[in-house]
Symmetry: C2
Subunit: 167 residues, 2 copies
């Protein structure tokens, strides 16, 4: 799927013409790009987070010659998928059936009911998995009491580091 396909799909979904969908899609990616470039984190709940991260100086090499090249510190965009996106991709969750909207008001109404049905369905699937996990935890606790003390030290360090990270 490429940009044109995406635009077509969005247009079909919201009942807009191709032009309007194109404008919206392009605007969205442009907004994200700019915001991230400015250092803003762009968080879409359930889908994921786009942000700018620092990449420290390091070395790479030219595979043709083996020559080592020094890379300067730089900043790169990063995306972290949200929990819902992950679950859908892994198969752990199914999305509600999407209703191709004929009108705006109709679309929002159909979506409201669909998402309610979806949350019920996913609730059932999530429950069994969690029951299996607690049993393993019980065993692990017995064998790892000493590790807790070291954990506290590194906790303090990371806490301060993260407060410095502004959004």
């Amino acid at each position: 799927m490429n940009k044109a396909d995406l635009i077509e799909a969005v247009a079909g979904r919201v009942g807009a013409d191709k032009k309007a969908a194109t404008n919206a899609v392009e605007a969205l990616f442009d907004v994200i790009t700019r915001a991230v470039a400015e250092g803003q984190k762009v968080a879409i709940s359930g889908f994921g987070v786009f942000e700018k991260i620092e990449r420290g100086a390091r070395t790479a090499r030219n595979p043709a010659t083996g020559a080592i090249v020094k890379l300067k510190k730089t900043q790169v965009p990063k995306f972290r998928a949200g929990s819902q996106f992950k679950e859908v991709v892994s198969g752990a969750r199914k999305l509600a059936k999407a209703a191709p909207a004929a009108a705006k008001s109709g679309a929002s109404a159909a979506r409201g009911t669909a998402s309610k049905a979806a949350s019920k369905a996913t609730g059932k699937k999530a429950a069994p998995a969690k029951k299996a996990a607690p049993a393993k935890k019980t065993v692990a606790k017995k064998s790892a009491p000493a590790k807790k003390s070291t954990a506290k030290k590194s906790t303090a360090k990371k806490t301060t580091a993260k407060k410095a990270t502004k959004r």
Copy 2:
């Protein structure tokens, strides 16, 4: 920036109301999510590619207890930023100034001029690099007539390889 902010920014850009922008934004992320979940690669030229990748079985641990947990093989979404996105974020490239569109026709007109200005601006940066490259090609052609035949062979291989890659 969160989803609501994004929607607001997109609405302002395309001169749509909040509702229409919401529908478009939600539809877009929903489409991407579903496509990736189905195994489709979603490629937005310049911005990046979303795709599903396999993650092998491995171990993780509960940071609170230190308990080791076995993770099964799974599939996760992955995003690879496109070159333009990377360049903008790193500061190597600047985007054209975005015009907040008042009307559709006005928007496309403003965009047309903006992208022309952008290509000129980027052209200046790209131009010096490209001038250096052609010179190398010329030299390479003169000294490497035999390589062309091998190049064709590898091309054929690549072509077939890519046909196998479905999108």
